[in-house]
Symmetry: C4
């Protein structure tokens, strides 16, 4: 099946939004007024929040890139579910700034996990629409089966992180970091785990 | 008719501008200094204004995307009417910030509706130019007839919102939200309404 | 002559930079703390400076778009003269903010004209390189001859604006506005003026 | 070997991020409240830091552009090493702001050199991956050999700049400027120096 011309433009717009999201987060790294390396050191929570969120948005971009490699036609549902996903991701800089400024407090961790949960939920309808209208064949089916399941696992880990943040915010952040780690790891044994009954 | 090479570059530049507009609005969501979920809750007017404006800019992007699917050649008039549209939309972040910070006051609602009115007026010459120089055929004519009429309806609703804001700002915001809703709804019965005498 | 693949990427990067330049200027339109339309009215110098600079960056984009329509190969000189042009244009938001905040004072007008002068000077080597390596033929020669002369006229008007700003800042702003007007006007009698001895 | 479709999208996203990085640095050029040219003059350290960083990011874009001219397929390693490079470069606006605001102090110079060192280290795995999976042939081998060696030289000069900054911050800045100069200079005698045992 031929790729519709409009698909590239949806990618280009999404790239623009994701590039801006990933870059404006760094504006939260405000230069300390005090001189010396000690003053810089006090920025560690803001920096750590930035590193975590950079990894997240990078993961979303990589997944979006792979997913749109399967897109073939533009439907109204695809456009709007993509817009919904970008909306949830546009909240990441705010949640990141809050996390850094409030030093990984409980409220900040809850907000951060809630935004991550929303983004992972918003990803599913977009993927379903592309699975329905995009490339066919075994490779595509395998890809969608594995990533939809990985996405579901992410949703569950984020959801578990919410109550765990009441025990300790670091447990909540740990849940977020866990999801990041298992998405960044290369395809392989982990993916076979998610593919077991399709292969 | 072949699509001129330059058309894609106009799309790419417009994508860039719209992606930045949609993303810098989130910078207005300033992190509260106070700790806790209560402090977050006080951000609701800023957040509501952001949601409304995100929906608007997303609608403009989707319409721009569909419209440029019909563009074939670049004329001076197309370039400049596109620049005029982007100019009016570049005022959206300012109007949004004002709306959120002044809690949907009368002055803020009037400014917001005025910007929306300007943008909807600026869309018409761009569409007329693409209708004149772009793809021909029944599908294109039907598309342009329906959307020009939808655009005219939007202009009238915004214009009606201006005096209604003096009764209550929420009536003005309601007008803006009404336009958003009838653009986001899928093509169908509503569009047939706007197409009645062309079909 | 075929168009080299890399040309599009130079365009895309330039589009990104110009889209950001044009959009971040609007961040200078800071929402007034005071309520009511009167407080908005006091923003007029900032708004006027924004309108002028938007027009300028839009003109540069349109010219850049037309110029790169003639580019065929990427040379080191093309890349670096393009970077130099983008550098001078990246100073426009700063000069615009200064102009608006200092209500078109003499120092602000001088800075603004100096940035505009730098940008118009930086445009020439880029155009010369594309004239040398890009599309050949009468149409290309005519285009380059006319726009190089228009560019030279712009340089002279900006240069004249510098001493005139000491008489009155508005004379300097008038020079800047004059250049904008004669670039936005459609091709026609004005261009024939610049083409007289080539046609 | 054919160029995979996805390569262009990686370029487009990288262009977006680099365009934003290069442009948000100018936001640090904050307009002085005081009137007159004297107040502008006091901005020189911020302006100088901006010029230096603009040159750096421009160099990275030019090198990235040339390097991706050799890319043919998208691998997970390519995606993630590109993301790592963009991460290090996203710290440039912060380091630049710090350098300008603290008037090229020792701590600011050390931070700046550290960011530059990280970026030059992050470039190597990306280049190695493209050398492994991209275009083959003598021209490609020569290009990779020369630029990997130039990159190694840059790493060494930055590393030397760190202890030298304890002698004088200007020695450290001099090291950074030295690297910029030898990357901007056109290909030629200098490159032959780096190519001696391959040609």
């Amino acid at each position: 099946m031929e790729r519709q011309e409009g698909v590239s433009r949806v990618e280009a717009f999404s790239d623009g939004v994701l590039a801006i999201i990933i870059t404006i987060m760094v504006l939260e790294l405000k230069t300390p007024a005090a001189e010396g390396l000690e003053a810089l050191w006090h920025l560690w929570p803001v920096f750590l929040a930035y590193v975590l969120s950079y990894a997240y948005v990078a993961i979303y971009w990589v997944n979006h890139h792979r997913l749109f490699g399967h897109a073939r036609v533009i439907t109204g549902r695809l456009l709007w579910s993509n817009m919904a996903l970008l909306f949830t991701l546009s909240l990441v800089p705010f949640a990141t700034a809050y996390l850094g400024e409030h030093h990984f407090s409980r409220a900040a961790t809850l907000l951060y996990l809630a935004v991550m949960l929303l983004a992972s939920i918003a990803y599913a309808p977009l993927q379903r629409e592309i699975a329905r209208t995009g490339t066919a064949g075994k490779a595509a089916r395998t890809y969608h089966a594995a990533t939809l399941r990985k996405g579901l696992a992410a949703i569950l880990v984020y959801a578990a992180g919410l109550p765990l943040s009441f025990v300790s915010p670091w447990l909540g952040i740990g849940c977020a970091a866990l999801v990041a780690v298992f998405w960044i790891l290369p395809w392989g044994p982990l993916d076979r785990l998610f593919l077991c009954d399709d292969a």
